[in-house]
Amino acid sequence: MFVTGTYNPYLVALSILVACFASYTALDLSGHVGPAPGFARRVWLVAAALTMGGGIWSMHFVAMLAFIMPIPMSYDVGLTTLSLVVAIFVTGIGFYVISRQSASPLHLVLSGIFMGLGIAGMHYTGMAAMRGNVELSYDPLFFALSLVIAIGASTAALWVAFRTTDLGQKLVAAVVMGLAISGMHYTGMRAAIFYCSRPGSNQAQINASVEQTNLALAVAGITFLILAFASVASLFERKRAEEALRHAQAELAHVTRVMTLGELTASISHEVNQPIAAVVLNGQVCLRLLALETPRVDEMRAAVERIVKDANRASEVIQRIRALAKRTEPQMTSLDINDVIREAILLVQREVLSHGVSLQTELASGLPPVLGDRVQLQQVVINLLMNGVEAMASVTDRPREILIRSQLHEAGQVLVAVLDSGIGIDSETAERLFSAFFTTKPSGMGMGLSISRSIIRAHGGRLWVSPNPDHGAAFQFTVPING
């Protein structure tokens, strides 16, 4: 007689849950494979394959335990083990294919095929491991359908998973992959035809089903435990990678900052030389006043006071340079954005002036403090000002003007705008401006704006460009208010 089994709905749900959780963890782990170097790459690949293969296997096992048949069943240990190996190995190939640096649509499809074959291979090997008083055959239509589901859904899941870093989308990918696994399984089961020659007793079946449930819970429990460990490992790795990225970004910001200082050398040296010249001249005035028969104390005091002021001015410029040249990790502190702007202007005003540009400021008073790194924000302001100056180099038919403005922006942000009357930017280049190594200047490196944008992003703000109504461009950025 043909035997039809029934499903324990709770265990079915558990099996799908196992599939989804395993998929999430495996996809998460496989995300580390691509960027990792050498040996670490292989470790992550093996971990992803073990998780995926193990996940599929335990899903299958839990699902089989959810399947209640009126006859006693057992499993062949050898074939069951083989089914696990098949799942691990074939999905491993799938992950290897898609994690290559240059993943193309072809790689995606290929990876999906391997993934699907891994799932199906495990299932049918696992089915072949069944020992009992039954004969097993398959309905060819449902068999084909199970393969299509496995490959199609895996491909879709991989497609979603490998083009995003967004957690929501990753969860979607995990669910799709989970459905690929469980969908394949239950379709495969629908394809299975059991034929039994000697039906057993009902009592045995009930006992078996209780045992089966406990076993299923145990398998699922162990699987979840392993997956949880893997997830934690992945999380640590992600944190470490983020830290490394942040560090690299700070390094790059520093390098571009030093380069900017290099470009400003002439102007900055003038900015230091000017007060020093004033000190020298006032000192000479003092000497002459001292040599008089009746020293003019008031005049001398005034000259000495000028000396002190000028020396402080020179020292302040040097301090600003040192702060910009120093390599430090970003330090988020509470800042007055207007101070940041004024200090940046101190270093570039001579550069601005020597290009025949007049610089105006409209700094709103009473702005709340922002949370940011002083040096990096100064770097952004300097970069925007210098870009503005260069954008106006060819302008001769109108005044060369830069306006820098600070104001309160919507939703707890402070806005800084740098407006020039230069050649402006067409909408095509507008977005490309912010990508690394893109430049419109003959001598530019194309790093300034890309670094500026990443700095502002790291501050939780936004940097964008828009054309001015009459001439030139407006670069604007926002920084969140502290607290």
Partner: protein, 214 residues
């Protein structure tokens, strides 16, 4: 302080340098006026005294070199001493070619600046004296009648009284009378002095006419 007989105009956007130069110049017993921008200086009504300008090259708005051009285009002949923080060669060449008396790079020695100022003032004094003399000559020349001017131009070209009389269709006696009046009105002691005066006034001599008539 004695009454200043010359004035130094200081144009620099740096208040400290401005004040220091002001003290320095006053210690020399010279008059001084200071300005933060070229525009301020242009708007200012300058007293009629020998003077010079100490001018910063890098000024906001109108630069020092722009101001130099502006003054030249208005016929102002004030000597200019440039001071600059950059001081590259092309810039100083440009300034000197346009008639600057000195080009000092900051920081400079106070004595160098004072020497330059004295030199510039001397140049302005000579220049002013020269132009006041010219103005006097011009005034005297303007006092001549047109006949006297005709006679004068022929006299300085070396013509004899007889030739002049023939040329202008008047008697030799009349020529002598005109000639005497010219010498008298122009205040010339000799023919040679009269020739020098016409040269300074840049009046064309009558050589062309004499060549044609012969």
């Amino acid at each position: 302080m004695k009454d200043a007989d010359a004035i130094v105009f200081v144009v620099d956007d740096d208040p400290s340098i401005r004040e220091a130069i002001k003290s320095l110049v006053r210690l020399e017993g010279l008059g001084v006026e200071t300005f933060a921008t070229a525009q301020d200086f242009l708007r200012h009504k300058r007293p009629d005294l020998p003077g010079c300008v100490v001018l910063d090259v890098e000024l906001p708005g109108l630069s020092g070199l722009d101001l130099q051009r502006e003054l030249a285009s208005h016929g102002v002949k004030l000597p200019i001493i440039f001071i600059t923080g950059y001081g590259d060669i092309p810039m100083s060449v440009r300034a000197m070619k346009a008639g600057a008396t000195e080009f000092l790079t900051k920081p400079f020695r106070d004595q160098d600046l004072l020497d330059a100022i004295q030199q510039a003032l001397e140049r302005d004094r000579v220049g002013r004296q020269h132009s006041s003399e010219i103005a006097g000559l011009r005034k005297r020349f303007d006092g001549l009648t047109s006949r006297e001017r005709e006679v004068m131009s022929l006299v300085v070209a070396g013509w004899l009284n007889k030739q002049i009389g023939f040329e202008l269709g008047i008697s030799e006696i009349t020529v002598k009378i005109h000639r005497g009046r010219v010498m008298n009105k122009m205040g010339a002691q000799s023919l040679a002095e009269l020739v020098r005066m016409t040269e300074r006034l840049e009046i064309p001599k009558a050589t062309d006419r004499s060549a044609k008539s012969r």
